[in-house]
Amino acid sequence: MLKKKFRNPEGIEKVKSACESLGLTATASGLATLSVRTEAEYFEKIFGVVLERKTRKEISNRDFGESGGFIADESILIPESLKKYVDNISVEPPVTRLR
């Protein structure tokens, strides 16, 4: 989640650049956020977290399944090089495909 000051096209480019310097590949940006991707092991290393892998859940009576993915420890520390730009870093958990 970007700091308010960087929620504009120029700001997003700066944040992207900072992320890429850390080995994070920017995938998409919105009005307030930037999404990045990297390998799970690398993420654990640079952010000092342990990721819990979640497998896909099949269709159930309540929903049409859940995507696979990761759950991260709540306290993801923001690296020094990104502190200026972001308020929050998170790993989106698996999503439920509702019926």
Partner: protein, 548 residues
């Protein structure tokens, strides 16, 4: 007299009945891609074995073009020597008997045709059929024939795929004696078999029949949400940009093609193959939205990667991608269940992992985008619980018209957003005792839902149709209604849109919501006036439309 096919008639040959030209490359690609998916049609399929046999019995297209021509011959009438072709006015039933030739005329013409090497194959009152070789035809009629190919016909549905006919401008000099005996002679075009309106359409645009009360798109969904009057008054969502974020959108399905919707699919990061929807949630649910607002500019944001499911897009990436396309409405039927299971205890604060998504949604609403989320189906669903989104709950309407809160749809008071009650109001959702199998929706054949749901919804596995609902259906229904309101007044803010729907919803007074979503246990009840189960009740699209 035009001898050769004029442009209109040759177009008639070349652009046959079916196979509407697709404007979008994605749709064309979709047809090819869908056909590349292995098809295992159920024996219960309505197209069935008999049609397949009929198709197989026809001449395969690989047969070489025949050198024997099939020719229709008309003869002059007694009164003035003109025949049906040279008369150049339209034949009528009243005039037909005037064109019956005299017997002597018939005998003389047929004798001459046989003498010239043609074989008489049929005799009518006004016409005769003869057959002859291509070379002989060219010689006798002093012309040059060219090869024509029948286009845009599925295999097996045209008698032949190529035939001979004179090109425009080709010479025409019949042998003098023959010319004096006949009115005219024309090579007959190949005919098209009409017994399959949607030949080789797999799946059919027509849904299968099932033996329980359910709703069909577009009609029943529109009827129950009071949409038809809007359509008749000219409202259909024209010019409104609506993004839907979901598994995928297989809009190459014959239903969508036949409906002619204006849709496109974009890929969120990690998603692949815009024409496929291996799960088919998005495909099916989008039919709800398009039923209500058929002329929106629909942007489907695909999240899924069928080849590598772990690499599909996150909801946030999907939302970010959606925002790139400047939508006025975003519809999302996905969510996160913010409760400890199996206890059902609601979380009391938003997990850090979802703060970014919350921020992005807030920013979108602040920018004037109407954001609609499903309330959940027993889930304590986020982002459906966010105060600034429209949270779509569920109402079930029986075939006798009686309404009740759907016991499949969520309703709860959020512990994360104090004062926030879910839902705001409702769309159409089925009941728990029937898996919420309520709305017949077009889906990609052989998709996960097509196969999995067929175990209980009465459709065949692999037929490209499924009966399902849930607040996943309610959200796009409400999004469609929002689009209609925005068409009427593009200046409406998200708050105003929500208020219009709140003020005009129909009160639902009976039933209980899904108990799994209530932290106290027991489904929250509907009652007179605004209630915990249904919010303001079932959306009344036309009432809201009139208030704009």
């Amino acid at each position: 007299m035009a001898r050769t096919p004029n442009k209109q008639s040759s177009d008639k040959v070349n652009k046959q009945r079916s196979g509407k030209a697709s404007k979008k490359a994605t749709k064309k690609k979709g047809k090819k891609t869908q056909k590349s998916i292995q098809k295992k049609r159920s024996t219960k399929s309505r197209k069935g074995a008999q049609n397949k046999k009929t198709v197989m019995a026809r001449s395969p297209r690989s047969k070489p073009i025949s050198q024997t021509l099939k020719i229709a011959v008309t003869l002059p009438r007694p009164i003035d020597g003109l025949g049906p072709v040279r008369m150049a006015t339209r034949m009528t039933t009243q005039a037909a008997h005037h064109f019956i030739p005299e017997q002597q005329t018939i005998d003389n013409a047929l004798h001459e045709l046989e003498r010239l090497g043609f074989t008489i194959t049929g005799k009518g009152q006004l016409t005769f059929s003869v057959r002859g070789s291509r070379s002989n035809f060219e010689k006798v009629f002093g012309t040059k024939l060219s090869k024509y190919k029948v286009e845009n016909q599925p295999e097996g549905f045209c008698a032949v795929d190529s035939f001979y006919f004179p090109k425009p401008g080709a010479p025409w000099k019949p042998a003098a004696k023959l010319k004096s005996l006949i009115d005219d002679a024309y090579i007959q075009w190949p005919h098209i078999y009409m017994n399959d309106l949607f030949p080789s359409r797999d799946p059919s645009p027509i849904p299968p029949r099932v033996n329980y009360h359910h709703l069909r798109v577009p009609g029943d969904v529109n009827l129950l949400l009071n949409v038809p009057k809007i359509h008749r008054e000219g409202g259909s969502g024209v010019g409104v940009r609506v993004a839907m974020i979901d598994s995928g959108f297989a809009h190459g399905h014959a239903y969508f093609e036949r409906m002619g919707y204006n849709t496109s699919t974009v890929l969120a990061p990690g998603a692949t193959d815009a024409d496929l929807d291996g799960n088919s949630h998005g495909t099916g649910e989008s039919a709800n939205l398009l039923a209500i607002a058929p002329d929106v500019n629909f942007i489907g944001v695909k999240l899924d990667n069928e080849t590598d499911p772990n690499n599909g897009a996150t909801v946030l990436e999907g939302f970010q991608e959606a925002m790139r396309h400047s939508p006025q409405v975003i519809s999302v039927s996905l969510g996160f269940d913010l409760a400890d299971r199996p206890s059902g205890k609601h979380l009391t604060s938003l997990p850090n992992s979802l703060v970014a998504l919350e921020a992005e949604i807030e920013a979108a609403v602040a920018n004037g985008v109407v954001v609609v989320f499903a309330a959940g189906n027993g889930h304590v669903a986020f982002p459906g619980m966010m105060p600034d989104v429209i949270s779509a709950g569920g109402v079930y309407v029986h075939e006798d018209g009686a309404m009740r809160a759907s016991d499949y749809a969520s309703a709860f008071a959020s512990k994360i957003y104090p004062g926030r009650h879910v839902p705001d109001f409702c769309g159409l959702v089925g009941l728990a005792d029937n898996h919420a199998d309520y709305i017949m929706l077009p889906i990609q054949e052989q998709s996960e839902i097509d196969v999995g749901n067929s175990a209980h919804d009465g459709t065949s596995s692999g037929d490209g149709w499924g009966v399902f609902s849930g607040t996943s259906a309610a959200a796009p229904q409400l999004a469609g209604v929002c689009a209609l309101l925005l068409e009427r007044n593009p200046g409406l803010t998200p708050v105003e849109v929500k208020e219009l729907l709140r003020l005009t919803s129909i009160d639902v007074t009976t039933g209980n919501a899904n108990p799994a979503s209530n932290h106290n246990g027991g489904g929250l009840p509907a009652g007179i006036g605004p209630d915990s189960a249904t919010g303001m009740g079932l959306v009344d699209a036309h009432a809201a439309w009139k208030m704009v």
